[in-house]
Symmetry: C2
Subunit: 349 residues, 2 copies
């Protein structure tokens, strides 16, 4: 595929193809499975979490970092948001398989341990724990100035499937299903390598609001991502809930992770939110790049049976999630299409 005009993630320094190639090399020799006395792995390659059956329980485990959003936190001097994001990026991946969050460990890598910065990060983590209803039970703090210049915030979360609940994997998706989208609040923790590059190129002042904005741009960009645990918990026990997608890195392409034999048609996908539009215009980002880099205003999608749209929206409302709406449907074909923008993706990567 030729590079689109305008800025791309790859031009900002991250070559997705090279990452995939290297990752495939790493994974080639790691397929070992221990005796089942060590637990039975349920293979779901490419999904949001690993699953293992131990005794009568099925567990989900997922790991993720906040990425380069921490560099913006450093520039602006505000660390609470990215602290909360450390929890967010992980619990939202548990939510995407319908697992109930249980415990988290964090991993902080830094060049020097600044107590003021650490206190802010801890404040944010604490807020994330309460929102995601998960306990921090351990972690690692590595002061490694020879390895990192900035700060890396990562974590690993473990969740489980309460009695009777099955993992929500997308296997039961069928043509005719409806996509319910739940709004995001900004870029969550994705696309910041590109966003930071555009800010630098245009010499943007982070202490002032962008055109049309209310808060200083630095603050707006550091808002922690929304946590979708309530939405997942509201729908995960319903047989008519066929899948969830967390629109993290990869944007709407994440939908293609759920099922390879159908097409996700985003016929009522909302226009991008104002912050995304502002960044799009700043970088002349082409639609094909925009929708595979940012969540564009929808952070979490539930795929439900057509007959269950009304009751699903009602269940979400009862759980306090009042802003879900229909954003598309499942049709024959494969990949993800966004008719309004004439954008189509054949798969996740």
């Amino acid at each position: 595929m030729p590079e689109p005009a305008g800025w791309t993630y790859s031009r900002a320094g991250v070559d997705r193809g090279a990452v995939s190639t290297a990752l495939a090399a790493l994974l080639a020799e790691t397929r070992y499975r221990p005796p089942t006395s060590h637990g039975r792995v349920l293979d779901l390659p490419g999904h949001y979490a690993g699953l293992v059956r131990i005794g009568r329980e099925t567990l989900a485990i997922t790991t993720d970092t906040v990425g380069t959003k921490t560099l913006l936190a450093e520039e602006v001097g505000q660390w609470e948001g990215v602290g909360e994001d450390l929890v967010q990026v992980n619990v939202n991946d548990l939510a995407a398989v319908g697992a109930r969050p249980s415990v988290l460990v964090d991993c902080v890598l830094c060049a020097r341990p600044d107590p003021g910065v650490f206190a802010q990060i801890g404040e944010g983590i604490g807020r994330g724990l309460r929102r995601g209803r998960i306990a921090l039970v351990g972690g690692e703090t590595a002061v490694v100035p020879d390895i990192v210049r900035g700060t890396d915030l990562g974590g690993t979360a473990v969740g489980f499937f309460p009695r009777g609940r099955r993992p929500v994997t997308g296997a039961r998706i069928r043509v005719g299903d409806v996509l319910l989208g739940i709004p995001s609040n900004g870029f969550h923790a994705n696309g910041y390598t590109l966003v930071r590059r555009l800010l630098r190129e245009a010499n943007v002042d982070l202490t002032k609001p962008r055109r049309g904005g209310t808060f200083p741009l630095g603050e707006e960009l550091l808002r922690p991502g929304r946590i979708y645990v309530d939405a997942s918990e509201a729908l995960a026990d319903r047989a008519t809930t066929h899948a969830f997608a967390h629109l993290s890195g990869g944007g709407v392409r994440n939908l293609a992770r759920l099922h390879g034999g159908v097409r996700f048609e985003l016929d009522t996908w909302p226009d991008p939110d104002p912050l995304t539009e502002w960044v799009r215009d700043l970088g002349s980002i082409a639609p094909v790049e925009l929708y595979q880099t940012f969540n564009t205003g929808v952070g979490f999608v539930a795929v439900v049976a057509a007959s269950a749209v009304k009751s699903s929206l009602e269940a979400l409302r009862r759980a306090g999630v009042r802003d879900a709406r229909r954003v598309g449907s499942v049709v024959r074909g494969r990949g993800v299409v966004l008719p309004r923008e004439t954008v189509a993706y054949s798969g996740y990567s």
Copy 2:
């Protein structure tokens, strides 16, 4: 405590006190516990793993990185060892609470994804998985040149307690217990910030063996750490096994994590292994610093009832662990003492 003469970890750039202060600031606001419908956390502060009860299962979760040993891997151009260490550092912490390893996720941070390097890392991870009997079920690969210059290899492991087994926490340690030590094979993944500094100061050629060595020093220093899962599995179900210690960062001080009301007297602790002695001499490292930085030849300790020494050694032998030996005992007092070196530590940190 005044700094000892000779090289110290702190002089090499890592100030343990500053790390503790910052970590305390981070943890201050992260004590939240979710409703027990999300699992019941079993608090074991300062221990090797976090524990949570989910349904009928008790799980252990632990996270750790290989640290600056990766910089040596980069210098020498050999990555398999540190790949295996990614597994080792985590499964050994599970082994230290008597948990059986089940699943692992890895987290690789790098400046650029080199398929050759990634293939070697994967080869090492695969070897570690087989030795630790654990399955890799997910991971994160972050290409973040603005955050890292080198490569960071981290992971998180989840284990469990097979039916009837209780976590081995040290709570049942009593005066008279005996310490059985199992040899390490080098520095595992600890102390490399100091080791690398000493090598640089002395301009040591890594392609040649050290005095008394057989292999090129680079190769010897990159040997992956021994995995103690077999030892833990052999002893964890025995009521006479009161604790395990994994002698990672902090050296023999790790014993003080196990029980605050007794003293661990290392009256038959072996002399340091030849590689440790060589590094000690290179940096004129004082005993008090040596034993709190390196494992000095003993990587894992089991604390067992005096009456069970013979049967424990026999159980280890049956599991293929033939080189365990008595290294000390539990006496009245507190902290850790090494009479031969007149070294004493009052606690873990």
